[in-house]
Symmetry: C2
Subunit: 222 residues, 2 copies
DNA sequence: GAGTGTATCAACACAGTGTCGACTGGCTCA
DNA sequence: TGAGCCAGTCGACACTGTGTTGATACACTC
């Protein structure tokens, strides 16, 4: 049985010129095909045969590259989450500089990262229902964001800018859960949902009130 | 082709004594079987054959009662949502009496309604990914809650208990979305999630701060 | 020029879905 | 009382999608 290749990038690419069509190109073709098809229909309306044909290979050959279509989605999803991480930076750690502005910046970066890959975001969220693996990846990413947000909340409480209240971690989970679900319904254009242009204003307001009790918390210099 | 029966209760039950096993009993047996199996595994790990066997009938006979397993879930889901509506009452309309207490009451009723039917709640939420029909039912229910919550927020702003802010409807959507997702991760015992005992305290606190800017808003009499 | 690893696919086995057509057995009304 | 109706039932089939097997090709290595 051929081992499905992991997307491990340091696989040794053997000497000089690659074959007409290399394995990496095929892998990328499969990923691109899924991303394209997800713009039109949901993962469970896409068959492995669709992906294989889209990448110009047969169904058994598909299995040489990925173990399942969920695995393809997972790869796409992980890439996107990596990008989301990268663009966001450490904005939350510098909350004290100007809470309202920094928070808007951080939440805006998330929003933008997900918005720019709408189809993958939605499919990834939906796939959590059916794939324990997707659930686990998402759980790890969320865990990191929760820890970061909780630390930021505690720091703001410590410097007296935010009043004490419910456990910082629980608050962070609540607010991030809100983001997650609000983004999802907005991107899916479900009813009821918030208009794309109003999402950021609304969630920033909730974050500020939930953490500081006011929409205009004090900056560190003030 | 036999018409799949709706769960329409006023179907005429013909004269005197019912047959050994009536159609209604079968229908109830299918619903009960799904609810039982959902405690152990997810909808897409349950086949129509499982449901049929569980109800003591063959697979083709299943189709006499329901058009698909999603339809069975939908029936279960709608019943549960109906109960959630019923137990909650009009608490949100009486927010002014004592905002913190009434809000806790209203959110507590929701939490309890969903908690008591954990398996159906989780399966219903998951099925939104794959079934437009489930999505639509959930959308309608949410829409009603959003309208009610938005009206309550506007009333509190009108009486001066809550400060003005982002659109009441958008705020209502955000807060209800938070509930939805927080409940889901808690019931599914995903990581990260809020402990079952802390959920109510946490979300009530966010609602109060987001609407009133404080955890101790004034009652109407005060 | 034999051997190894990558890449490929036709053909198969299988699981689940949905449908068709035939059958049963109680009930109604002529 | 017996012809006809109808809710209810299921064996058998066709179809779709999944995952595996085994054989093959090709490039590059030693």
């Amino acid at each position: 049985m051929p081992q499905p290749r992991t997307s491990d990038p340091q696989r040794p690419t053997r000497g000089r010129r690659a074959r007409k069509v290399s394995g990496d190109e095929r892998e990328r073709a499969i990923l691109a095909t899924l991303e394209r098809l997800l713009e039109e229909r949901s993962l469970h309306e896409i068959s492995i045969d669709d992906l294989a044909r889209g990448a110009g290979i047969s169904r058994p050959t598909f299995y040489f590259y990925f173990a399942s279509k969920e695995a393809v989605l997972l790869s796409l999803f992980e890439r996107m989450l990596g990008e989301a991480q990268a663009t966001r930076g450490d904005t939350l750690n510098r909350l004290a500089e100007d809470p309202a502005a920094r928070l808007r910046e951080a939440l805006g970066a998330f929003f933008e990262a997900f918005r720019s890959r709408r189809a993958v975001t939605l499919a990834g969220a939906d796939a959590q229902a059916s794939s324990a693996e997707v659930r686990e990846v998402w759980g790890h990413v969320m865990e990191a964001w929760v820890a970061e947000a909780a630390a930021a909340i505690e720091a703001e409480r410590a410097r007296g800018a935010a009043p004490p209240g419910v456990a910082a971690r629980d608050l962070a989970i609540s607010l991030l859960s809100m983001n997650e679900r609000v983004f999802h319904t907005t991107f899916a254009r479900q009813q009821p949902s918030i208009a794309e242009d109003d999402v950021l204003d609304t969630i920033v307001s909730v974050w500020l009130h939930a953490i500081y009790g006011t929409a205009t918390p004090p900056a560190a210099g003030a």
